[in-house]
Symmetry: C2
Subunit: 526 residues, 2 copies
Amino acid sequence: MITWNNLDTLDSYQELAKSDRVNLAEVMAGDNGAARVKKYSVPMAEGMVYNYAAKQIDDKVLDVLAKLAKEAQLTEKFEALYNGEVINTGEKRMVLHHMTRGQLGEAVVADGGDKRSFYVGEQKKIAEFANKVHSGAIANAAGEKFTTVVQIGIGGSDLGPRAMYLALENWAKVNNTFKMEAKFISNVDPDDAAGVLNTIDVAHSLFVLVSKSGTTLETLTNESFVKDALKNAGLDPAKHMVAVTSETSPVAKSDDYLAAFFMDDYIGGRFSSTSAVGGAVLSLAFGPEVFAQFLSGAAEEDKLAKNKDIFTNPALLDALIGVYERNVLGYPNTAVLPYSQALSRFPAHLQQLDMESNGKSVNRFGDPVNYPTGPVIFGEPGTNGQHSFYQLLHQGTDIVPLQFVGFKNSQMGRDVLIQDSTSQQKLCANVVAQIVAFACGKADEDRNKNFEGGRPSSIIIGEQLTPQALGALLAHFENKVMFQGFVWNINSFDQEGVQLGKVLAKRVLAHETDGALKVYSDLLNI
Amino acid sequence: MITWNNLDTLDSYQELAKSDRVNLAEVMAGDNGAARVKKYSVPMAEGMVYNYAAKQIDDKVLDVLAKLAKEAQLTEKFEALYNGEVINTGEKRMVLHHMTRGQLGEAVVADGGDKRSFYVGEQKKIAEFANKVHSGAIANAAGEKFTTVVQIGIGGSDLGPRAMYLALENWAKVNNTFKMEAKFISNVDPDDAAGVLNTIDVAHSLFVLVSKSGTTLETLTNESFVKDALKNAGLDPAKHMVAVTSETSPVAKSDDYLAAFFMDDYIGGRFSSTSAVGGAVLSLAFGPEVFAQFLSGAAEEDKLAKNKDIFTNPALLDALIGVYERNVLGYPNTAVLPYSQALSRFPAHLQQLDMESNGKSVNRFGDPVNYPTGPVIFGEPGTNGQHSFYQLLHQGTDIVPLQFVGFKNSQMGRDVLIQDSTSQQKLCANVVAQIVAFACGKADEDRNKNFEGGRPSSIIIGEQLTPQALGALLAHFENKVMFQGFVWNINSFDQEGVQLGKVLAKRVLAHETDGALKVYSDLLNI
């Protein structure tokens, strides 16, 4: 029997709050530090590991975190979720994004069919369509192959798919699976659509309209923008567009699209990269086999999230350590720092995933909570960040917990030997150096050159950023966010916080304003 | 006589800490809110305004902030800075980035010459070189024009110039001043250079190596990468590369470059967008006239920063309100949210500018400070962010102060009318709506749909994002960061926090490791 309780009502949380603070600089020094790095490591899927040696924890803290996992019934709640319980209570919906990549538990039947079959069926439809586009069986009016795919979507229909595309673009090129260049139009700013249209050949472009409801204002506006461009080029928009939407949306039955691929209400935008939302653009760009590999990596990682033992469940452990940092140690932010240029937009995707899911101040029953929930998430790839905001991370007045990601091998295999090391070795040496610099610091008589240390981090290490590794990485963070939502007893799957702005924007456009809203509107000439 | 004192020793700061808190939701409602929006506005250069009506301030708070400006001698310190005093005490250097765009005070003579003349001279050299490249007078070995410019640099040699390039790329295209496409290589990750090289035609590419010292490891490594690619294509690297460096660097006297343009030690990387660091790539991409317009906008804004009255000095006022939010109201973060797709990487540049400058915990004399200094800065363009992390900003448990930017007109002028409004109108309506939604909130019986409001923001409004407006915007934030550094009594112009990581990375590469450093090195196969 699952019970949903606020974090501060749990015995284990009270115990956690009383735990002795770990002196990170001290425990990470010398042989003890070496022993920690060997010990505090959990295998992930695809040969990756989650290493948390440089977190401000020890066996005693971990013991209480294990109790917390049990008392809060975290894996039981996950089980309820993947077995089809209505976990998104605000919108009264099931939460089924895991089912796009595997079946973790019981069959879930809804909307007149088995949901796993539905998701697999859409993947097959997309794969067949993509193969026809690649072969030229589906081509433009002149019978020429499409060379570019342009995703039109915003939020979850943009950030995740875009980050995944960028993560695999160079990998696909060197592995001969690069089929079509992808571009993305998201912002209602007309310069976004106009700028992208300026760089592509519309006659050889296929546009993917992504909107679950078929009513997202930005997306419909940008669709019109694109249709105008196609018409101005003497082309029939219906021969250049496909839709990813829900079966009940107005878009689904329209003749304005070459094809329609379906998603449903059980997958939120920010969890939709493994659904048709990511599937269409990624299958078109890299081929359906690469998308299938991406899903298989995610599926392997999802299986680990079922483990009840926190030491074999990296997402659960990561989630719990994050809660400890947020609620006991009082750190309001987390930085995500992938040492991989291919992951340049991965932090922006995690920013949405985490902040939109867990940036809530009422629990799942609508009562205010008395403790901090989701942190601010930000980040940029290393080593770039080292020459930018790391100054504050090392010597600023606040402590920011860090999440590093690193890979032993580059994606493209091209490298250069300078001062007896390759660029890849330099990249890896830097991330290693940063972890130890943050944790241990270094005393200096010149206080301006003094590093206090005690700044916690963890690192996910992989062999190479392949489609499988990317899927596993994505699933890890999705599951981490889910577990943290369970701990905080909030609904991680709705987003009521985005509604008020929409309502007021409509009022401004209808000129139904007064007070500050009217004066601001005048200032911006609306 | 200037005295440098810690913030918490100032009478005005004690008074500020005792000030009554403003109930933002209350004061922004109704006619009072309308009056605030009209009143709390300061003109900036280029017809822009800084509007701070939705900040948590009132006349009483502003009165104390004015006292603080006076007591901390903020404009006097700026005067000392631009007149050539050694403000960067850590590195014992003057701070002269303002002089790249104008002369605010006395002539400054150093390194055997007048510094303003030096900077203007380099601009002229760059302009002549760029014009020759555009005319084809300087061309590749086959006598063909260069079509692409690739900046090789990291940190300040990358983020600022890249953000400025993206900000003006589409503007230049529609205004017929687009000369060459620019690309950027920064990360030591070999996939960064390999990926960029994969997308360009090296035979028609000109590379700009940017390193003040001529010793930045990432940059030299990437230069080798590029030289290998040129040689492999049968080309002479010396005919494809220019350098931006200091006159004393090893690079300056080398025959390996078509030309060398100079910077000096008085301009830090993060303040170097208006120096040769930004000048070379931007002049090559858009023509020297556009770069000159960018400088003129910055120069106009700089002049406003001299004003002693906080109500005619937008950077000073912005800085003081930020200090009030950080030190009195206790908000640890600031989000930068430009409603302009062209400013997509402007927040990443401000992240470096702000966090590297003011992420310090010792004062300019090396003594620890007892108060928070620079906040964490993050952001993405709107409306994209609305569909991402705004959920937390509206309904999360922490309050994050917001800096909006909006323009009345788009850059490209292409638009579409949907539901009786253009995309540009929708964009502007959204930013207006967000300000009011954050400030005023909206009560709802369903607590999950309740918005508490009280979330402060300011907005900078401009006519259009032109080169001049961009220069003014950049200068505004540079000066804001400078003034905040003065308030906190820290040295905003060094970055000792980046050193320890460099030292440890070298040790890893030399295999001179033990303890945790050794085990991590093994995990990453170094």
